[in-house]
């Protein structure tokens, strides 16, 4: 199991490079993960997406699809790709401290 130093702590990662334990997550860790993903600063819009991802995961046990993200988070598809250029559903899940989403859409 890989560990990484983030926000002054050694944090365990899973095989996909996502947090192994959700409990390790805090906003500082999110910022460290974002930097790792090439996002230097998390704007309020980034946080809207991250918080939406966390809320859906808490309720349903999996991250939302990109379609649901677009429809329900209040951030449209184009903006999502600007915020998380290398794939919004997966990158935002990682930064939100969630495992890699399972869905195809």
């Amino acid at each position: 199991m890989e560990t990484m130093n983030m926000a002054g702590k050694a944090i365990e990662l899973d095989a996909d490079g996502h947090l192994a334990h959700r409990g390790d997550w805090n906003e500082e860790v999110a910022r460290a993960l974002a930097t790792q993903e090439g996002i230097p600063e998390l704007t309020p819009q980034h946080w809207t997406v991250i918080n939406f991802m966390r809320a859906v995961f808490d309720k349903e046990g999996d991250a939302p699809s990109i379609r649901r993200l677009t429809k329900e988070s209040g951030v449209d598809t184009k903006t999502l790709y600007q915020l998380f250029p290398k794939g919004p559903a997966k990158r935002s899940a990682k930064i939100a401290g969630l495992p890699k989403p399972k869905g195809c859409i």
Binding site: I66, Y81, C104, I105
Partner: protein, 159 residues
């Protein structure tokens, strides 16, 4: 973990040549999936595949119930009036459960995700289609030569 000498896919060009529901969706799911992975993607619609980007037809694609052994339905039953519509409705219901959007919405989503959408020049001329017949997401009607130019460095996927 990928092996050292294996390069990840960076760009795909997907050709859609069929106009049935089951002929179109795999390509759309692959294009959307590529963008979700940060892979550059474009879609090239040709022959009956054009139905998926023709405004009046795109939300009315049907499942083929005849000539499709995997439907597990005798040909004569598949040919009954309404059978194709029925199979289509069933499939659409299942897809909605998986959060797979209808074709029109899917095309908008894929285009917003940065995937370019092209129509085949030869087919457009053959079917006497005009620019205004197509959905707003169409980025252009291009020749096969232009397609290859745009596909430079991409994996080409024919569906």
């Amino acid at each position: 973990m990928p092996e050292n000498n294996v390069q990840p896919i960076e760009k795909v060009s997907i050709i859609v040549s069929h106009g049935s529901l089951e002929g179109v969706y795999p390509a759309l799911i692959m294009a959307n999936g590529a963008r979700m992975e940060g892979i550059e993607a474009s879609l090239f619609f040709t022959f009956f595949g054009l139905d998926a980007i023709i405004k009046k037809r795109m939300n009315d694609l049907k499942v083929a119930t005849v000539g499709n052994p995997a439907m597990h339905m005798p040909t004569l039953v598949g040919a009954l009036p309404g059978m194709s519509s029925f199979a289509t409705k069933m499939m659409q219901k299942e897809m909605e459960k998986l959060d797979i959007p209808p074709v029109g919405e899917f095309i908008t989503m894929i285009h917003d995700a940065g995937c370019e959408i092209y129509a085949c020049r030869a087919t457009v001329d053959m079917f006497h289609l005009k620019k205004e017949d197509f959905c707003d997401e169409l980025d252009g009607v291009i020749s096969v030569g232009q397609f290859y130019e745009k596909a430079a460095g991409a994996q080409i996927i024919f569906t």
